[in-house]
């Protein structure tokens, strides 16, 4: 059966069969017994890109396009390592990066992690930071 974002929320309750961990465990396999037996690793207890895309679709169906955009970017970031995420965050802070550095991040997000939405987001920032003097070595125009 297909996924109906207008009716299948909460996923965990309405469509548990559509939800799994990155390693492919289904929700009902996540039990105290499984943890006790060491079948479940800590790294595996997180949402997949697919699940976040479904949540993004739920947000669209509920009329929340901006939340949906956010969840779609989140879906792209699932496979990006935490350290890299924090590096991108730092790069996006004011006066941290040159236009070239931001462009390089955007390119890496696209090529390495298949994250076109986030890449576009970083490019937007690059464009605006250049206009507002927020790139590295620039002083903000106030």
């Amino acid at each position: 059966m297909g996924f109906d974002p207008g009716a299948d929320y909460p996923l965990g309750r309405e469509r548990p069969e559509l939800v799994s961990t990155p390693a492919g465990h289904s929700l009902d396999e996540i039990t105290l017994a499984a943890v006790r037996d060491g079948c479940i690793g800590a790294d595996d207890l997180r949402a997949t890109s697919e699940t976040l895309r479904r949540q993004s679709a739920v947000a669209v169906a509920a009329g929340r396009s901006k939340l949906a955009d956010n969840l779609a970017r989140a879906a792209e970031l699932v496979s990006v390592p935490a350290e890299t995420i924090l590096d991108v965050y730092t790069a996006l802070r004011p006066h941290r990066s040159s236009a070239g550095e931001l462009e390089a991040w955007a390119a890496r997000l696209e090529s390495e992690w298949d994250a076109p939405l986030t890449a576009a987001f970083v490019r937007e920032a690059k464009d605006v930071y250049a206009r507002r003097g927020l790139l590295a070595g620039e002083r903000a125009q106030v």
């Binding site: 939800v19 943890v35 207890l45 929340r64 969840l71 004011p94 605006v128």
Partner: protein, 761 residues
């Protein structure tokens, strides 16, 4: 001050009140010290060219700051903008307070409004209209509340106990922070174990620097974050070392790790940080909120937050804060509506401000109610704290309003606190962390503050926390530890929280998790208020729960047991008119000495009678005892007695102790002296009443009996008065004549002189 330098004592007295410990200022727009409708606030405008936004609120694209650029790209829906531009501010404002205009329509229109227009329209509403609009626009159907759990020693047993109490009391979220940032994982573990002991499904967060925060989330030790601050001017945003793009990216990053995120903003922050650029608090907050929505956050914590006292320093500050919450809800954001930082020294003012959020109900009425006493609150004191819990719950009961805190009996709270402290003790032990002693567990269970707890070796704790992070300890390790030590139910609850991270349902707007593990958000539990009888109503089981305060008593039980033993008076036949001119009739009410045995002040009826009679005799008159059966009203009891009295003077006495000196020729509702302060009367008071009654009977000049005043007597005792009077009224025999009374045998040794004509020396 008056010209001659002499101060009015009343002005001086008011200056000593708590209110005057804070500074109120007149508006100063150039410093951002203006609540709303600031003189420099721009007129709303929105111009598209070829499908792109080229002007927002009077600013053309070349002059856009970083916030305008962000809103131009992400914050304005062109279709909604077209619809909004076809409507006047008045039409939209009316829609906000019109029950027949659906929330969905208003939310859709909001997507086409600029910050200045949002602020403009909100400013058209008066406070009650804002409250109504807020009630209508809240995203989730049912309101909830968030708890703050901290202590000055970062003691894990106490954190766990407080988190457990918070959860048991119905808080949907528990937030902690740290005194020392290296402690973060320990505090996160303590409130995770505590909260899941109190009620499975409670979400937790540890407010620390973003990198640490994200790390805790990835380990499954916390489930939400609200540390993402945004500001309404570019310079402050940049001073905060962020831009809308960096913050929005961080929001997505948290979501990618299954963390529920709400942003934080609040009026006054730009003024406090010196870069308001002369704009009003509400206009700048509208800019923040537009950014929050454009960034795709599901919600926001707002309503001045830590700047609440600054907003309250200027005229209209309380209203401005409410307008902030209203705009956030209108933008379809989950709102945790402040009321966390101390708003005022004045309890009156603080609570008046709270009503703006408490009565309409918000997604989280406070963005942190201090579950522990203020001493241990590390979020700046706590506007409401452990000591205020009963007031909060009583206010909920008074208004029949659900503000998210449930009553619980002491034994249950003590049990859940101990269980949580034991749980975290076991986890520390299993994880090889510095041990939590039994003394700590006991003090965390029963103590008031962290002062009651033994000091821990903080260096060792911090060291252990570093080691725990280095070993990669996660929520799974906490589960295993609990399971190994017999806390299977808490282990199960934490597994269930890990499962929630996989389905990520709580990333939708306004999500909370109920005790059955069901996510309730604005998607599956939306607010669809559309007038009386619709939306969230506090009724049924939930209303029963919130009104069952442990200190509420059943009035039926309150005066039970009053009529123990044989009556203290005996009726000896119908009363007749007396002929002694030195006689004072003591006329008692229908239940006196029979169904009721003591006054509201706890004086035994026989002792009161003895005191009255002693007083009458001391003054040289003679008491005669009758019972008026046809009325429970002290005026009629006294007047009926006076009509029977040979002197025309009677002392009427209700069972609860209210007395009157009456004269036969007066109208029943008139009197010579009325003694209505029965809770304050001693036997000496009654003796003095007797002397005065005798004085009237003998025609002597009589000064009034000195009586004390207690302005709270009514507040304290009105319920008991009602119950006692109900008993008296039940004992009425309609139309029955008064009867003579004698003191029953053996009723009281002190009452033996009654009716015996002892002569006063």
């Amino acid at each position: 001050m008056p010209a001659n330098g002499r101060r009015s004592e009343r002005f001086v007295s008011r200056e000593g009140r708590d209110l005057r410990r804070e500074l109120l200022v007149s508006p100063c727009p150039e410093l951002g010290l203006v609540a709303m409708d600031g003189p420099s606030d721009p007129e709303p405008s929105l111009v598209f060219e070829a499908g792109r936004v080229v002007e927002i609120d009077g600013r053309r694209e070349p002059d856009f700051d970083v916030i305008d650029h962000f809103l131009a790209r992400h914050g304005i829906d062109p279709e909604a903008a077209a619809e909004a531009q076809s409507l006047s501010d008045d039409e939209i404002a009316r829609g906000l307070v019109d029950v027949d205009t659906p929330r969905d329509d208003l939310v859709r229109i909001s997507r086409g409004l600029t910050p200045a227009r949002l602020a403009h329209i909100a400013a058209r509403l008066d406070p009650v209209e804002m409250m109504f609009a807020l009630k209508k626009l809240r995203a989730r159907r049912a309101p909830a509340n968030q708890a703050h759990v901290t202590n000055l020693k970062d003691n894990p047993a106490l954190l766990a106990a407080d988190a457990a109490e918070a959860a048991a009391r119905g808080f949907a979220e528990v937030e902690t922070t740290v005194g020392v940032s290296r402690y973060a994982p320990l505090n996160a573990i303590a409130i995770l174990v505590g909260s899941q002991t109190g009620r499975p499904g409670v979400m937790t967060q540890c407010a620390v620097e973003e990198r640490r925060n994200l790390d805790l989330a990835i380990r499954g030790l916390v489930t939400y974050a609200e540390t993402l601050s945004v500001y309404g001017t570019e310079p402050v945003f940049v001073d905060g070392d962020d831009t809308p793009w960096s913050k929005a990216f961080l929001g997505s990053a948290y979501a990618s790790r299954g963390v529920k995120v709400r942003f934080t903003s609040g009026g006054g922050s730009e003024a406090l940080m010196g870069r308001s650029l002369g704009y009003s608090m509400l206009y700048l907050e509208a800019r923040c909120l537009a950014v929050v929505r454009a960034a795709g956050s599901q919600g926001v914590q707002n309503g001045a937050i830590s700047c609440v006292a600054l907003a309250l320093a200027v005229p209209g500050g309380t209203r401005e804060i409410l307008a902030e919450n209203l705009i956030a809800s209108w933008l379809d954001l989950e709102v945790a509506s402040g009321n966390d930082a101390i708003a005022s020294h004045s309890e009156i003012r603080k609570t008046a401000k709270l009503m703006g959020q408490l009565l309409p109900g918000t997604d989280f009425v406070t963005s942190g109610y201090s579950v522990m006493p203020r001493y241990d609150n590390m979020f700046g004191g706590g506007n409401y704290d452990a000591d205020d819990l009963e007031e909060w719950m009583t206010v909920q009961r008074d208004w029949q309003v659900d503000a998210g805190i449930e009553p619980a009996p002491e034994d249950e709270i003590v049990a859940v606190r101990e269980s949580a402290a034991r749980g975290v003790q076991a986890v520390f032990d299993e994880l090889g962390l510095p041990p939590i002693t039994d003394d700590e567990v006991e003090a965390a269970t029963f103590g008031a503050t962290s002062r009651d707890l033994p000091d821990r070796d903080r260096g060792a704790d911090a060291e252990a926390a570093d080691g725990l992070l280095a070993r990669g300890t996660s929520g799974i390790d906490v589960v295993r530890a609990l399971d190994a030590r017999g806390f299977a139910d808490v282990a199960e609850a934490i597994v269930a929280m890990q499962r929630q991270r996989i389905s990520a349902d709580y990333l939708q707007t306004s999500a909370v998790i109920d005790a059955t593990g069901t996510v309730r958000s604005a998607v599956n539990d939306p607010n669809q208020y559309s007038g009386p009888g619709s939306g969230y109503r506090l009724e049924g089981e939930r209303w029963e729960c919130l009104q069952a305060l442990p200190y509420v008593v059943d009035p039926r039980e309150l005066v039970d047991g009053e009529a123990a033993g044989p009556p203290v008076v005996a009726e000896t036949g119908d009363a007749t008119a007396g002929d002694r001119t030195d006689e004072v009739v003591v006329a008692v009410g229908p239940a006196f000495g029979d169904a009721l045995r003591s006054t509201i002040n706890g004086l035994a009826h026989e002792d009161v009678l003895a005191a009255l009679c002693d007083g009458i005799r001391e003054e040289g008159a003679e008491p005669r005892l009758v019972r008026v059966r046809r009325s429970s009203d002290v005026a009629f009891i006294g007047h009926d007695g006076a009509v029977l009295s040979g002197s025309g003077i009677a002392l009427g006495l209700q069972s609860k102790g209210t007395a009157v000196i009456h004269r036969a020729d007066l109208q029943p509702l008139d009197n010579l002296e009325l003694f209505g302060m029965s809770p304050l009367y001693s036997l000496d008071s009654y003796r003095a009443m007797g002397r005065n009654a005798a004085g009237y009977a003998l025609g002597r000049p009589v000064g009034p009996v000195p009586t004390e005043m207690d302005n709270y007597a009514r507040t304290k005792l009105i319920v008991k008065t009602t119950l006692l009077h109900a008993r008296e009224t039940e004992a009425i025999v309609p139309d029955a004549p008064a009867v003579e009374l004698a003191l029953a045998r053996g009723a009281s040794s002190r009452g033996q002189s009654l009716g015996r004509g002892r002569t006063n020396p």
